[in-house]
Symmetry: C2
Subunit: 201 residues, 2 copies
């Protein structure tokens, strides 16, 4: 029983005696890796699509340029997804090293660190996405009650590219939420072990 224990390695976790359980564990780790790669790639795609997006229009000889920096929500989306992409890249490396070496130390403090990081990333990307979608809706439809005009009529190309970026962020976000559930599983199943095994993987 190691309810309060620290330094439990994953070697202590798979006290499985059935082959099917090992298979399930391998599938969970593979799902984690795939989801992290998906998060990393799509969050990066979102950053590139939104941050490089701009459109210039001329109104009576005055040039006006639309850029993601015009909307704080888009800046938040870019920053949040850049952080999520960098974080996911580090985690992908950790997952690959763990799978290749097979006997990586996986203690409770590390599991808590990964769990906390994943939770923070998941909620951050959800918040950034919600704010960006809210702003995009205003830009697309306007808000007549508040005299907020539509801007996507003028900057159609800019808005379309932002839409693609938001689309990538949606899938990245769903993957991140999935990853956070897997890391919660990875952490909390370390609790309530009745005993320890010396097996390593």
């Amino acid at each position: 029983m190691s309810y309060l224990g620290v330094g439990v390695s994953p070697g202590n976790v798979p006290v499985y005696h059935g082959t099917s359980l090992k298979v399930i564990d391998r599938r969970v780790r593979l799902a984690e890796l795939v989801l992290r790669i998906l998060t990393c790639g799509l969050a990066l795609l979102c950053v590139v699509l939104v941050a490089t997006d701009s459109q210039t229009k001329e109104f009576f000889s005055i040039q006006k340029k639309a850029s993601y920096t015009d909307l704080k929500a888009l800046v938040f989306l870019v920053v949040a997804n850049a952080i999520a992409a960098a974080y996911s890249f580090v985690q992908v490396v950790r997952c690959v090293v763990s799978m290749v070496r097979g006997n990586v130390l996986y203690n409770k403090p590390l599991a808590w660190l990964i769990f906390s990081g994943d939770q923070a990333m998941a909620y951050m990307t959800v918040a950034a996405l919600a704010a960006a979608i809210q702003s995009s809706v205003f830009a697309e439809t306007g808000q007549p009650e508040l005299q907020w005009m539509k801007t996507c009529d003028m900057y159609a190309k800019f808005c379309n590219q932002v839409g693609e970026g938001v689309g990538s962020a949606v899938i990245a976000c769903i993957s991140m939420v999935g990853v956070s559930c897997i890391s919660a599983f990875g952490l909390f199943r370390l609790y309530n072990n009745k005993g320890k095994s010396d097996a390593r993987w």
Copy 2:
């Protein structure tokens, strides 16, 4: 070992042999109850504050009324918090019954149901809050680049009350995230038990 097993009751979980572990378990359950009550109360407060908020102004003999329905993000905030309050109320009742009876069945399907519900509520309240904050920032500061005017200069009383509602929603949201971590703990520690005990609590 019940990695794939269903129908594991919480009686199987506390295979604790130390009193301190029982104390910790009681504290976790108490923390869950307190957080759920906090979520329920503050989400309800947010609903009342935002949904009852309105202010009428007269512009050249034309009356204009500001209401939360003018902003879809505030409607989303009210709906999300109403759902979270109702859900938390049901969960508070479940927690109290579980604590009073002491031998409530707590099997894996139920634990999965609670975990899924808590995750959905946590992400929903975070998304609603982020969208509402984004809209509130536009209303408070405007967005000169897009010719979106400030509206809080005209409807100061309305905006203040929305601000109080958003404040309640922030704390409700943090509590909900805490609750979702506790239910993840409650679910995933059911996995990887090496044996079963007949103890009930």
